[in-house]
């Protein structure tokens, strides 16, 4: 009789959900399940979902409890027996979607997948110290270990602090889902690129006596429009690396970071589509429309997706220089400092001028400092002529 092994996937409950929590298993590892019977409970956005099996057989659990699982992820297998599932997993170890070949950890009986080994080596972990679900140590076991132990060093029990520190602090509770998700998002982005920065100072022009600075709004619109126009000449800055491949965006859609003051001051990054086809006034109008959408709570999630580059300006704050972090699926970001007055020496005297700092964060794995510096120099020249 042909043995069939079926995967149990995390279902897509809502369109925008990408992950959820596996709250509890209803069936033990190795127990029999019938088609239609409840396997586990998943939780997302204040709703629980009893996931039922579509197949009958023996359950081979892969995911643990109180872990975050992603939509489409395999959390279990159902087969005629545990051995049948293990045979199936071993036979598919070389396929592109699998964990890779399974090997024995040197000098031990522990079996580890290639992806798990890569992660263990990268973080310098002890494979024996990592708790696993199932007979083989997999990548998700290692990732779970890294989440709970923090920096991947020796495992520490969750929540343990040195006593002296414990006496000085108040525990405020777990990070909110959104904050934790943002931290994971940034950590994943960090893993895939090599952050480097180049900076320049753009002199905007002489400050007339009693005159006002260039408004932040006008400066931002000009920067957005100018960057969009230059990206065609510097395509590596509208590209990113993914799984060893260079991916380049076709359009010059620019994300601009904005503060949503009405919703706990969260940062959003709405996207200006086709920013290279707008003039400065159109850019300014479009930015105003996006701000209005945010204020009205009407900014849709799709309006924050798909940008090739991000520009951040901490408007209204006395921040003259900072480093922006790249968003996922982007390799570059530009931080625009607040315009300020500086005094420079000129001829035999001094002159007050407006100046603004630009800091470009880029992926040194894709391009080097000459490339990034070249972009920044062109940007500086273009802005000077536009704003002087």
């Amino acid at each position: 009789m042909k043995q069939s092994v079926r995967a149990i996937f995390v279902p897509q409950l809502d369109v925008n959900d990408v992950e959820m929590e596996l709250v509890s298993w209803t069936v033990e590892h190795g127990a029999s399940v019938a088609s239609g019977s409840e396997l586990c409970v998943l939780e997302t956005a204040k709703a629980t979902h009893d996931l039922c099996s579509e197949h009958s057989g023996v359950l081979y659990r892969v995911a643990g409890v109180h872990v975050t699982v992603r939509v489409g992820e395999v959390i279990a297998w159902v087969g005629e027996s545990l051995a049948a599932v293990e045979t199936h997993l071993a036979s598919t170890a070389g396929s592109p979607d699998s964990e890779g070949a399974v090997e024995n950890d040197s000098g031990t009986e522990l079996r580890i997948t290639a992806k798990a080994r890569k992660l263990i080596d990268r973080h310098g972990l002890d494979a024996e110290a990592i708790e696993r679900v199932g007979a083989v140590l997999k990548e998700k076991d290692v990732r779970r270990y890294l989440e709970t132990s923090g920096d991947g060093g020796p495992a520490a029990s969750a929540g343990t602090l040195p006593e002296r520190i414990e006496q000085l602090v108040d525990r405020e509770g777990a990070l909110s889902r959104s904050v934790a998700a943002m931290a994971r998002h940034l950590a994943e982005t960090r893993r895939d690129l090599i952050l480097a920065t180049v900076e320049t100072e753009v002199v905007l022009g002489r400050l007339p006596e009693g005159g006002e600075k260039c408004s932040e709004e006008h400066l931002l619109s000009t920067v957005v429009r100018t960057v969009a126009g230059l990206l065609g000449e510097f395509p590596l800055l509208k590209s990113f690396s993914h799984a060893g491949e260079l991916i380049r965006y076709r359009a010059s859609d620019i994300a601009v970071t904005m503060l949503d003051e009405d919703h706990a001051s969260r940062l959003l990054a709405p996207v200006l589509r086709g920013a290279d086809r707008l003039d400065v006034q159109q850019t300014s109008r479009r930015l105003a429309e996006l701000r209005a959408s945010i204020g009205a709570g009407e900014l849709h999630e799709e309006e924050q997706l798909g940008a090739c580059f991000t520009i951040t300006m901490l408007e209204g704050l006395a921040v003259t220089r900072f480093t922006a972090l790249q968003n996922r699926y982007q390799s570059a970001a530009l931080a625009v400092g607040s315009p300020r007055e500086v005094v420079i020496s000129k001829d035999a005297g001094f002159e007050s001028v407006q100046s603004v700092s630009l800091t470009l964060s880029y992926d040194h794995g894709l391009c080097d400092g000459f490339y990034a510096g070249g972009f920044l120099s062109r940007l500086e020249q273009a802005l000077k002529s536009e704003l002087d």
């Binding site: 939780e43 204040k46 709703a47 629980t48």
Partner: protein, 244 residues
């Protein structure tokens, strides 16, 4: 593992699955009860020593979300029925909460807005929270409307939640929550129970889905819980399979 309270949720959902019809219970607890979400850790979410000292039961519900305190002055909404669509939590929250909002607006409560995943607020203060549980083609909606309860009692028993919506902005219970009475809207819990019952009988919030054929009409049953002695009534709407 915390005990489940079948009369808050499990029993209602099981009844809806068996009957194929929509069932609702609108009620008020006459004592304090801590109800944890499915994935909550009780010692993290509430002051267990206070609960023990005051003999406050700590139970868990089917649905997700955070830990709540049920107490007099709060209207508990429990509705179960066939989904009518695949499990889509956000859509279900929107539809059911829109029904709740409309009913409250018809009763004179103005200014309600939806915030976070599924909260209803007056201004930036929460007045209703809810959770969902999907199982076997049915869903169970459990919500709590703060009518005229004393907010301070919540802070006595519940810790600051381990997870919160962004709009809460780390505010404590007394700054985050409000009641209808505090906002100037009249009506006792009993008044609102009557309104919800009548509206549910006239027009329930969920669409019906064809499940197993219903052979005979079910009779309305009164639920009495020995554990809490809550005042409650059961509403049920006969499924019209000819419309499904």
């Amino acid at each position: 593992m915390l005990p489940r309270d079948p009369d808050i949720g499990d029993g209602l959902l099981a009844q809806a699955k068996r009957s194929g019809s929509q069932i609702a219970r609108f009620w008020q607890s006459d004592r304090e009860i801590v109800v944890c979400g499915r994935s909550n850790e009780p010692d993290r979410e509430c002051h267990l020593d206070v609960c023990h000292a005051r003999a406050i039961p700590v139970v868990t519900r089917r649905g997700g979300g955070g830990t709540v305190l049920l107490a007099p002055g709060m209207l508990v909404l429990s509705m179960a029925g066939a989904c009518g669509f695949p499990a889509r939590p956000r859509l279900a929250f929107e539809r059911i909460n829109a029904w709740v909002q409309e009913l409250l607006r018809d009763g004179g409560v103005v200014g309600l807005t939806a915030r976070g995943t599924s909260d209803l607020c007056l201004g930036n203060r929460k007045v209703l929270g809810c959770s969902l549980s999907f199982s076997g083609g049915c869903l169970l909606y459990q919500g709590v409307l703060l009518v005229n309860t004393r907010i301070a009692r919540i802070a006595d028993v519940l810790r600051h939640p381990s997870r919160e919506p962004e709009y809460r902005a780390a505010r404590e219970h007394d700054e985050f929550l409000t009641t209808l009475t505090e906002q100037g809207f009249a009506g006792s819990v009993e008044d609102w129970i009557d309104r919800f019952q009548q509206r549910f009988e006239a027009r329930a919030p969920l669409p019906l889905a064809a499940t197993a054929p219903i052979s005979a009409p079910h009779k309305t049953r009164q639920y009495k819980t020995r554990q809490y002695k809550t005042r409650q009534s059961v509403c049920r709407q006969q499924a019209d399979l000819s419309r499904a």
